[in-house]
């Protein structure tokens, strides 16, 4: 029994290593082709609209609720020790440094990453990717680069927006329910936030955006086995993106903690 479990685990580890290798290859190719002319802005804008602009509603809802919940949770403890004053700074720091980038990335991974994998995957199984190649068009340049650039640009913008909405959510709770004055809340928020907090958060979201684009396209390209294969790849793509986002978040948070103490 246990042996079988180990064998299965070993197989999973090997397949994950294989995935990391393929992903790195695709990443190198994509970065190279991003800077190689000709540049086609039309497709980048189309992807930016699909990935970024169309994500604003769901990001708004999620960020607003996170703001509410986080303010209430923090208030629960802060009121006990009589420091309601600090709710604002705690919320602002957590959202800008951590929650904003990660929650936004996860929402976009579920929404946009899944759709990328499904779209590229069905192109793969119907030989459209082969057809692109025979029409002298590099599929990475044509399909991956626009998604990569669009997500790299739009995810930080979405994150910035989510930060604002999240803090606003917390503001409503504090000002309306807890009786903190509006000017006091604003003052505490802005005085506790440093540029580096904002910068590290947005830098992480740039990395997350690139990860979402690369993983979703990689899984789409590697679909095997018809419609069922597309379904499997889409699930895999979302799961792997979540894992990689959390792992990258852990890595960069630790890194920034040590280089910008």
């Amino acid at each position: 029994m246990f042996i079988l479990f180990l064998i299965d685990l070993g197989r999973k580890v090997i397949s994950f290593m294989y995935f990391l290798g393929g992903l790195t290859r695709l990443a190198v190719q994509t970065v190279f082709l991003t800077f190689k002319p000709p540049y086609k802005y039309g497709r980048i804008i189309e992807q930016a609209k699909k990935a970024g602009y169309d994500s604003f509603p769901i990001v708004s809802v999620v960020a607003l609720f996170i703001g509410f919940i986080f303010a209430l949770q923090t208030a629960y403890f802060m009121q006990r020790i009589g420091s309601e004053m600090y709710i604002a700074s705690l919320v602002a720091l957590s959202i800008v440094r951590e929650l904003g980038p990660v929650i936004t990335a996860l929402v976009v991974a579920g929404r946009v990453g899944a759709s990328n994998t499904a779209e590229l995957g069905s192109m793969q199984v119907t030989e459209q990717i082969d057809a692109l190649e025979t029409l002298a068009t590099n599929p990475v340049k044509y399909l991956v680069v626009p998604r990569f650039v669009a997500l790299g640009v739009m995810l930080p913008i979405l994150t910035l927006y989510a930060n604002i909405i999240g803090i606003l959510g917390s503001y409503f709770i504090c000002v309306i329910k807890l009786g903190i004055t509006s000017s006091m809340y604003m003052h505490v928020t802005f005085s506790s936030l440093l540029y580096k907090d904002l910068f590290t958060g947005l830098f992480k979201s740039l990395i997350f955006g690139m990860l979402i684009a690369l993983i979703s396209c990689y899984e789409g390209f590697n679909v095997e086995g018809g419609a069922a294969g597309v379904g499997k790849a889409t699930t895999r793509s979302v799961v792997l993106t979540f894992i990689m986002i959390i792992a990258a978040d852990c890595f960069f948070t630790a890194l920034f903690y040590f280089i910008f103490p």
């Binding site: 192109m123 119907t126 030989e127 459209q128 082969d130 057809a131 692109l132 190649e133 025979t134 029409l135 002298a136 068009t137 590099n138």
Partner: protein
């Protein structure tokens, strides 16, 4: 010599698909490849256009080895070769006109008006004039194939690879595709490889017919030679018999 396939070997994880396959097609010739489903005909075409790399052996197109070309050389080659995929492989996010004109839009600076003219001209050739604004999802299977054919001829290639262009198409449309293949051959001297199961169209369009079996070309010849062949495998295939060496040997191969 335009296309030379020399001792090609290709294996996928479990099965050997091409096993020392050689075939020569000279400039301007139409070669029909026949063989059972799953015997590796599509795989052979994909080697010729460089979508798959051989395990061993090589493919030469115009004396250049396809498997070792870099990306730039490959694009140059692909501006002269077109492939019509078995399922059409139309881009379903684009309408018919954008599909047909894809190469011209992406790789040339021809004006939009000229491109539209070329697209319409190609569509008329396959009997689908005026359908440019439809989406692929609005087309029947046979129409998709004809649009794919229009996309292939729109770049005015010197070589066209057809993967079962008449399968799944009504007999009248199929005959008009055969006529089109013939006229591209007669008027524009296009070199063609046509994969088909349809023996009637094979006899009609071929300069040469090659029979693929067990990963090799077991016999090639003019339509007349093939029809009169005494080879039992070829005889079984072209007459569509359920009993014969092909069906008996299936289990012993691999």
């Amino acid at each position: 010599m335009m296309i030379e396939v020399q001792n090609l070997y290709k294996k996928f994880s479990s099965s050997r698909v091409l096993n020392d396959l050689s075939l020569n097609i000279s400039k301007g010739q139409t070669c029909v490849i026949i063989g059972r489903s799953g015997c590796g005909k599509s795989v052979l075409l994909k080697h010729i256009i460089g979508l798959l790399k051989p395990d061993q052996g090589k493919v030469l197109v115009n004396h250049k080895e396809v498997g070792v070309l870099n990306e730039l050389e490959l694009s140059v080659l692909r501006s002269k070769i077109s492939m019509v995929f078995q399922g059409g492989a139309l881009f379903d996010s684009m309408n018919v006109a954008e599909n047909v004109g894809f190469s011209l839009i992406e790789h040339t600076h021809i004006s939009q008006k000229k491109i539209l003219e070329r697209v319409e001209e190609s569509l008329v050739l396959v009997g689908l004039g005026g359908t440019g604004n439809l989406m692929p999802s609005e087309l029947s299977g046979g129409m998709k194939k004809r649009v794919a054919l229009a996309r292939a001829i729109c770049i005015r290639p010197e070589i066209i690879l057809y993967d079962e262009p008449t399968t799944g198409i009504d007999p009248i449309a199929a005959d008009s595709i055969n006529e089109l293949i013939r006229s591209l051959h007669d008027k524009l001297k296009v070199t063609s490889i046509v994969v088909t199961h349809d023996m009637k169209s094979a006899y009609h369009i071929a300069d040469k017919i090659a029979m693929m079996y067990k990963g090799q070309i077991i016999l090639e010849g003019t339509p007349k030679e093939i029809r009169e062949s005494k080879n039992p495998v070829v005889h079984q295939f072209i007459n569509g018999l359920a009993k014969g060496p092909i069906t008996e040997a299936v289990d012993t191969f691999k």
